[in-house]
Subunit: 176 residues, 2 copies
Amino acid sequence: MSTELARRIADHVEEIADFPKPGLRFRDITPILQDAELFGDVVDAFAEEFKDREIDLICGIEARGFLFSAALAYRLQMGMIPIRWPGKLPPETQRTVFELEYGFDALEVHRAAFAGGKSVLLVDDLLATGATMRACVDLVRQAGGKVIAGAVVVEIPTLEGREKLKDMEIHALASL
Amino acid sequence: MSTELARRIADHVEEIADFPKPGLRFRDITPILQDAELFGDVVDAFAEEFKDREIDLICGIEARGFLFSAALAYRLQMGMIPIRWPGKLPPETQRTVFELEYGFDALEVHRAAFAGGKSVLLVDDLLATGATMRACVDLVRQAGGKVIAGAVVVEIPTLEGREKLKDMEIHALASL
């Protein structure tokens, strides 16, 4: 983790109390996107970390994960697969349902995307409780893919997301 | 419009009947993303078209617009602003409500993003009826921004989306 990049990222995350539910704290990462130089440096830092790894596809997690995964796929000249909320990916999908801090959620992915055991890098903006990343790892594996690592811009270590992801590599550019 | 790129794009859009509602035809653009070379060529074609224009920010429309807008923002070294479905962008947003083929929808954007009259390129995957792009143009203008153009990967001319967008430039890479 580059200390200087980590500091710049942390400076560009805004905390909003009691959103989306009372008692939760929302982290707004949009200031990172708005700063062209920082956004570029984030994508380049991911690229530097993963450019020599055996990766077939970048998987982005809806919706903010799309922002970083698409730019990284472009940078690394790799294909990209979106993992989406239900009902967005006709026709043949694999689905997983999982628990969040505020209820349940579900995610889907095109089953055929991982045919032949594709190696996948999962990308999201934030690692909080780890529930979403855990669900995506299981989803990709159920669909026949191999998860190489999970890459996130920011992690919140106090929420202990890595506890749910002990069977895989997690790469975070900054901690909050 | 490059004929060869347009043909490759069209070959990578799958039509799915009666989705998301009976009578509608869904266009699945995920095969474009999955083809690393084509995805790169799409982003480069947008970059070539807009690199010398006076643009301050790239605006991506949730959710598939995020995929192309984020890669383009990275490529052009510009900041990116997400236009999102309601309730995703705390705290201070500008909202618009608009009619779609299957009911109403709403979009929001951070009001402060356009302070000082920023010039904006709007990016989405698909131009169909034009309702979403129209809503985004109005939203950006209400928030104080100036819309330079709308860029879409694919347009469907039979749905006459450009009729709703006569007051602006639309750049499409392919037609279906």
